[in-house]
């Protein structure tokens, strides 16, 4: 219960009382630039509230990069972008030591890489080589980087929002399942509907470019992260959630089920969803809605199921229906 000091208590209370307004403001500001995609924006924010990383997957041109950069601007966090290519080296991400002359002396200085930021956009992460991917994933897990024997901590909060293109798989290095597990959510972007596309065209073919302004500060985000963990959940719902995860390990259509990391992720995501809804408890609907982004990259379907055209979301739908 002592997750914050008494001097911050009033600030935390204030943040909790204003949480509905905070989230409404965030969505409004992001909505000035991003048309539609409310669910995607919500899931990105949930990943941030859980202090986790997210993997976005969609066809090209659906605004993955724009969405993430807009979120970073609205939350007033340092933002860096890395375009992953097959020739990207680990030092291009983590940083490297360079030799420079200072006061007549030559000495090594560490030049931090783009990973030393608050929000790192790793575009097309599946194009980077496995060695580069592992360097990034290590930074994600440890929140620190070791270069030439020296360890450098990454500033909190630290999020990696990676993107993937489901088509054009030639020459790519798909992330192995063990590494995919480090992303708390896998978010899918879909094509906008007719009205949304009309709005996009109107906004982005005019003279003025859509702009957004800062919505919340870094401190407020950190307070919201602490509050997320404080949202209470009933024992019965915890049991039901774990039961759902356990059933992925015995399902006829699933070759490999989700690990206990998925249970933690699902409950945390449920808490974040409840906080965003403005309620003070986690409901079963929160868990059901978050089951899809939490589980779709953590389960591996059997060959028979894939051959029959079954997708992970279809199996998750069946599992959730039995909850």
């Amino acid at each position: 219960m002592d997750s914050y000091y008494s001097t911050d208590y009033e600030r935390m209370q204030q943040t909790y009382r204003n949480s509905s307004v905070i989230f409404t403001t965030l969505f409004e500001e992001i909505g000035k630039v991003i048309v539609g995609q409310e669910e995607v924006v919500e899931q990105i924010l949930i990943a941030m509230l859980c202090n986790g990383h997210a993997l976005l997957e969609s066809n090209p041109g659906l605004g993955k990069t724009l969405t993430i950069s807009t979120v970073a601007k609205v939350i007033d966090l340092k933002f860096s972008r890395v375009q992953c290519t097959p020739d990207l080296m680990p030092s291009d991400i983590t940083g490297t030591t360079i030799l420079e002359e200072k006061n007549g002396r030559k000495e090594f200085r560490f030049e931090p890489g783009p990973v030393f930021t608050n929000i790192l956009l790793a575009d097309e992460i599946n194009r980077a080589s496995p060695k580069t991917q592992s360097a990034l994933l290590e930074a994600m897990q440890e929140k620190q980087v070791t270069v030439s024997g020296n360890t450098y901590k990454i500033d909190e909060p630290f999020f990696v929002l990676a993107t993937q293109n489901p088509i054009e798989q030639e020459g790519t290095y798909p992330l192995p399942e063990a590494q995919l597990d480090r992303f708390i959510l896998k978010i899918l972007l879909d094509y906008p509907d007719m009205n949304e596309e009309i709005e996009i065209v109107k906004r982005y073919t005019g003279q003025e470019k859509p702009q957004t302004s800062r919505g919340i500060t870094k401190t407020t985000l950190q307070d919201l992260q602490k509050l997320t963990r404080d949202v209470p959940i009933s024992d019965e719902l915890i049991s039901k959630t774990i039961n759902l995860i356990t059933r992925t390990r015995n399902h006829q259509d699933i070759e490999y089920g989700a690990s206990p990391r998925a249970s933690i992720a699902l409950i945390l995501a449920g808490k974040a969803k409840a906080l965003m809804r403005g309620v003070n408890y986690v409901s079963i609907d929160d868990i059901k809605s978050m089951a899809f982004p939490v589980l779709r990259h953590r389960i591996m379907l059997s060959f028979e199921s894939e051959r029959n055209g079954l997708k992970p979301d279809d199996v998750i739908k069946m599992l959730v229906a039995d909850m």
Partner: protein, 324 residues
């Protein structure tokens, strides 16, 4: 209102209500089984139990309104109902896993949807805190002055405290009486009264269904000469050994002996051409003409033929030949 005290009170009330539902179910099941048993004269099975058979059809001295067999039916119905209700309770408990507190909370949340999931979550939070306090009671009292705890909210975080405060206010308006299934219980009472009236009527008027166990027993005890026998004791081979008086004579069904029919077929009956094609009446057998001496007969016709058939077969083929 304190959430734990409220839930404990709700659990107690739920226990009482469960007992009432079980009692009403038992009464209805008992009366229904007794009614069915009396209507279908299930008590006549006493006839097959030797020590009890003399009592069939008699009235006891202590209660000369209901026959012995019906009293037996009522007692058996009582026992069966007890087992049935216990069985249903066991099945219900196996299907609805959870503590009594959880079941009571489920009932309240069903009746008051605004408390759905909130009451359960708040109860879990305060229960956990209570257990924690009981475990570390002294340490908690020592530290109470140093930490920024709200005395009313103990060690809850902001969100937990908010939830508990709101739920505590909301449960003040909860009426546990509303969790009683009035409609279901009333319907059981009405049905029980109806069935009991029917049962009393059947007991005192002696109205019975035409189908009774005796029918089924008699089907199995038919003898070979076609006559339907009366009910006999399986142990007694000789009917004459069973002495029945006018008072203790077992109930039997009045029967008419069957009409004797001769089903043997005389030779030649119904084999003639004309008889096959029309609804001819049965004819007396007349021997056909002797076949011509110069006609050759097949050997198969000569082997093992009954007397008189040779002539008939020859005539049949002769007629066939004439037609062709």
């Amino acid at each position: 209102m304190d959430i734990i005290k409220f839930v404990k009170r709700a659990t107690k009330v739920h226990k009482i209500y469960s007992a009432i539902y079980a009692l009403l179910s038992f009464i209805l099941i008992f009366l229904t089984i007794a009614f069915i048993g009396v209507v279908f004269n299930m008590g006549s099975i006493m006839l097959f139990i030797e020590p009890l058979s003399p009592y069939v059809g008699n009235y006891p001295e202590f209660f000369p309104y209901i026959k012995y067999e019906n009293i037996l039916v009522i007692l058996c119905s009582f026992v069966v109902s007890v087992f049935l209700v216990l069985f249903i309770k066991i099945i219900f408990k196996l299907r609805n896993k959870g503590t009594r507190d959880e079941r009571a909370i489920d009932l309240i949340e069903k009746k008051y949807p605004e408390l759905k999931e909130r009451l359960k979550t708040a109860f879990d939070v305060v229960s956990l805190e209570k257990k924690h306090n009981e475990k570390h009671n002294e340490e908690y009292n020592n530290n109470n002055n140093n930490n920024n705890y709200n005395n009313n909210n103990k060690r809850y975080n902001i969100i937990q405290a908010d939830l508990i405060e709101k739920v505590s206010k909301d449960i003040d308006f909860v009426s546990l009486q509303k969790t009683f299934h009035k409609k279901r219980s009333l319907s059981k009472v009405v049905l029980s009264v109806f069935v009991s009236i029917l049962l009393i009527a059947v007991l005192f008027t002696g109205i019975q269904s035409p189908v009774t166990p005796e029918h089924f027993m008699e089907t199995f005890t038919n003898n070979d000469n076609g006559k339907i026998s009366e009910v006999i004791h399986p142990e007694k081979e000789n009917k004459e050994d069973v002495k029945f008086t006018a008072e203790n004579k077992p109930p039997t069904i009045s029967r008419q002996p069957g009409k004797q029919v001769n089903v043997t077929l005389p030779p030649g009956h119904g084999i003639d051409h004309g008889d096959l094609q029309s609804d001819a009446e049965s004819k007396e057998f007349t021997a056909s003409k002797k076949y011509p001496a110069n006609s050759l007969a097949s050997e198969s016709y000569n082997e093992n033929l009954p007397e008189g058939y040779e002539e008939i077969i020859k005539e049949y083929f002769e007629k066939n030949a004439e037609i062709n």
